[in-house]
């Protein structure tokens, strides 16, 4: 199935890294354990954006929207006791040990619906218009979270009182939850990898490289972009659900522009169209945030400086992302060949 030897080796390296991570994490302290979990959660977000930015060539600056929708949906169905039917359904599912499935299905359906609606508005726009409209739509979600306080508690955010258990296994403490996150992460990574290797994914790369030619070959450009947008939104939703479960708290600052920009930067930093690059970007950004926050509280200031310095240096040396540093590490999809024509 995977005939390319170098490709096989890369998969083994990536899997090896995650096996090592699974083996090492129990021996780290609590701070590091939660940092690793956080990196994985944002890794899913960054990878989902990579589907759009790297593989389809659509720079979305509002990817936190679906993340936010899913994380707020999770928090709302777990805490809103006066919404009797959703809460009762959650209680019932939880008593069967299926609370997590209920959350995932419910939140992902909502996130998918939003992605489908927003994608419908945004996909027609090209270039910078796409960027601006996705940013504006994400700000709508932020505005809802901030102003619609009857549902979202506004500025106070929503506190979630504990995680549901999975088949009777409690996820309350750090380690079980880390393994759960790792499992979700690997499933997402696997699905996205299969997605970008599929003929559909190859077509997306073709659209990124030569839109007119793909159109002439008879591909429905709009539909391909639209589906890619929705799929990226779904994975972004997975990351949103995991964020609420991890943090047990959501508030408007979690989903504002800085989150979208961070996701975009994680992709650009790690290397677009590599899938695993954005995870490295996530690791760098999240670790920096955690460690720098110990010393100074001015994270956005430093983040801005990091953006500028990294982009300017990358420009100076002509490097595209960290994975661009080791050119051999890149997946073939990242080169400019067009598979179908």
């Amino acid at each position: 199935m995977i005939e390319n030897l170098a490709e096989k080796r890369r998969i083994f390296i990536v899997l090896g890294v995650f096996v090592a991570l699974a083996a090492v994490t129990p021996f780290l302290d609590l701070f590091m354990q939660s940092l690793v979990t956080e990196i994985l959660v944002f890794g899913i977000l960054a990878m989902s954006l990579d589907l759009l930015l790297g593989f389809t060539g659509l720079a979305s600056l509002g990817h936190a929207a679906y993340f936010g929708v899913a994380s707020y949906t999770t928090a709302i169905i777990m805490t809103k006791e006066d919404w009797t039917w959703t809460f009762a359904a959650f209680q019932w599912a939880d008593s069967l040990g299926l609370g997590l499935f209920y959350i995932f299905i419910f939140a992902l359906v909502v996130a998918t619906a939003f992605a489908a609606f927003f994608g419908f508005l945004a996909i027609r726009a090209v270039g910078v218009y796409f960027l601006m409209i996705t940013l504006s739509l994400a700000m709508v979600i932020w505005g809802l979270a901030y102003r619609w306080s009857a549902v979202t508690e506004g500025d106070n955010g929503i506190n979630v009182l504990g995680r549901p258990s999975l088949f009777g296994i409690s996820l309350e403490s750090e380690m079980p939850f880390f393994y759960f996150t790792l499992a979700v992460f690997l499933i997402c990574l696997g699905l996205m990898y299969l997605f970008v290797r599929s003929p559909f994914g190859k077509t997306l790369v073709g659209i990124r490289e030569r839109e007119e030619r793909m159109q002439m070959l008879g591909y429905n450009i709009w539909l391909h972009k639209y589906l890619a947008f929705i799929i990226a939104g779904v994975f972004s939703g997975v990351s949103g659900v995991m964020w609420t479960l991890f943090n047990l708290f959501v508030s408007p600052p979690d989903i504002e522009l800085i989150t979208s920009a961070e996701a975009l930067f994680m992709v650009a930093l790690g290397g677009p169209a590599t899938l695993i690059g954005p995870v490295i970007g996530s690791a760098i950004i999240r670790s920096l945030q955690q460690f720098i926050s110990i010393y100074v509280e001015r994270w956005p200031l430093i983040l801005g400086a990091i953006y500028i310095i990294t982009i300017m240096l990358g420009r100076l040396y002509g490097v595209e992302g960290i994975l661009g540093l080791f050119g051999k590490f890149r997946k073939p999809a990242a080169t400019s060949e067009t598979p179908e024509g």
Binding site: L53, A59, L61, L121, R124, A125, V126, G127, V128, Y129, L131, M132, I133, L135, S136, L137, M139, V140, G143, L144, R147, W148, E256, L257, I258, A261, L264, F265, A268, V296, R298, W299, P300, L301, L303, G304, A305, I306, Y307, I308, I309, I311, M312, L313, G314, R315, L316, Y317
Partner: protein, 365 residues
């Protein structure tokens, strides 16, 4: 849904027009920069907020009891940094100079916090408590506005000259760098001026309401509309009727040919960026007495500016006028009619227009 009486509609229209005036000031700069340089400047709204804070600061310097010492230290620090850069780049490559300055900065930061117990970056971003001033006059306001505008325009020019020019036409890099500056300006302002909500004071002839046919209309809002109309006229005449405008248009339409006939397109680009920042800053200062000045205002107003240019089309002055009026009316009437849905009401026309014409009504694509 509430029903509106005729007087309500008149007052709301007046408010919508004044809101549109501020939006026009903000969005025309965005549109101008994009039209000429194909850059979406995400730091644009940050200039809007930054200028508001600067005006506040200069009100305090003129009317309040603000110590100038931290500002002098700041100025000296930035000047010293600039000359260190100039001196270093004489001897080593810019990238090595940048690295050396960065390392020196980190060393100084550690030394300062370990030995002397103060943060080195406070030299560059001193924390100055600002009190809202209650005394103000028209001339003082104008002086503060001029200073704030000059500084904002200078900042825009420097960002173009030293950062954006080196990026070429790579949209992703431009977006990340400008958003980096947006974060720096936003968080730097938060650090410097604190998280309080300020309101710029409306000076004497403007701080009253005119009573026309029993309707009370705040005069300041008329002032906002007048400013916007004057700026729009100046921009239109400047671009369409003057030699400088012709040079600008030439530099946009065919940069290579423009360079060929001796137009310095680099200077043109810098000037365009300065004008863009100036327009945003004008909006920020004039709007500071209307919206207030508070952290987060920039990212709150940015989607409105985007809505304006999406509806009107990027790079078109007429589009910016039309777009800001549309958005101003929708925002005000939407808030009055459906208070919870106003944010959504704004994006419905945007979606419809994009569906009909993906580059906006007057967009150049």
């Amino acid at each position: 849904m509430t029903t509106l009486s005729f007087t309500n509609i008149l007052v709301l229209s007046y408010n919508s027009l004044s809101y549109a005036a501020i939006l026009f000031l903000l969005a025309s700069g965005l549109s101008l920069i994009f039209g000429v340089m194909r850059i979406v400047n995400l730091a644009h709204a940050a200039f809007f907020l930054f200028a508001g804070y600067l005006a506040l600061e200069f009100y305090n310097i003129i009317f309040g009891s603000l110590s100038l010492m931290p500002r002098i230290v700041q100025l000296v620090s930035w000047t010293a940094l600039y000359f260190a850069w100039r001196g270093l780049t004489l001897y080593v490559a810019p990238r090595h100079a940048a690295l050396a300055l960065l390392l020196a900065y980190i060393v100084m930061e550690i030394l300062c916090s370990l030995i002397w117990g103060f943060r080195f970056f406070e030299l560059f971003f001193p924390h100055v408590p600002v009190k809202p001033v209650d005394r103000i006059n028209f001339l003082g306001m104008m002086a503060a506005i001029v200073v704030a505008l000059a500084i904002a325009a200078l900042c825009g020019m420097l960002i173009e000259r030293f950062f954006l020019r080196r990026l070429g036409q790579d949209t992703l890099s431009q977006v990340l760098v400008t958003i980096g500056f947006a974060f720096i300006l936003q968080d730097g302002s938060l650090y410097t001026w604190g998280g309080d909500n300020f309101m710029l004071k409306q000076p004497w002839p403007l701080n009253f309401s005119a009573v026309v046919w029993g309707l009370s209309l705040p005069q300041y809002r008329a002032f906002m509309i007048v400013i916007a109309v004057v700026v729009a006229a100046a921009l239109f005449l400047g671009i369409e009727r003057t030699r400088l405008g012709a040079i600008m248009r030439a530099a946009v339409d065919d940069p290579e040919m423009a360079r060929g006939i001796g137009i310095n397109t680099n200077v043109v680009q810098m000037a365009i960026f300065a004008i863009g920042a100036l327009l945003a800053a004008t909006g920020g200062v004039v709007g500071g007495a209307f919206f207030g000045v508070y952290p987060g205002l920039d990212f709150e107003i940015l989607p409105y500016a985007f809505a304006v240019v999406i509806i009107g089309g990027l790079g078109s002055l007429g589009g910016a006028v039309l777009g800001s009026i549309v958005v101003g009316f929708i925002e005000n009437f939407g808030t009055a009619l459906f208070p919870e849905l106003s944010y959504f009401a704004l994006f419905a026309p945007m979606a419809i227009i994009l569906a009909i014409k993906p580059t906006g009504l007057f967009g150049k694509g």
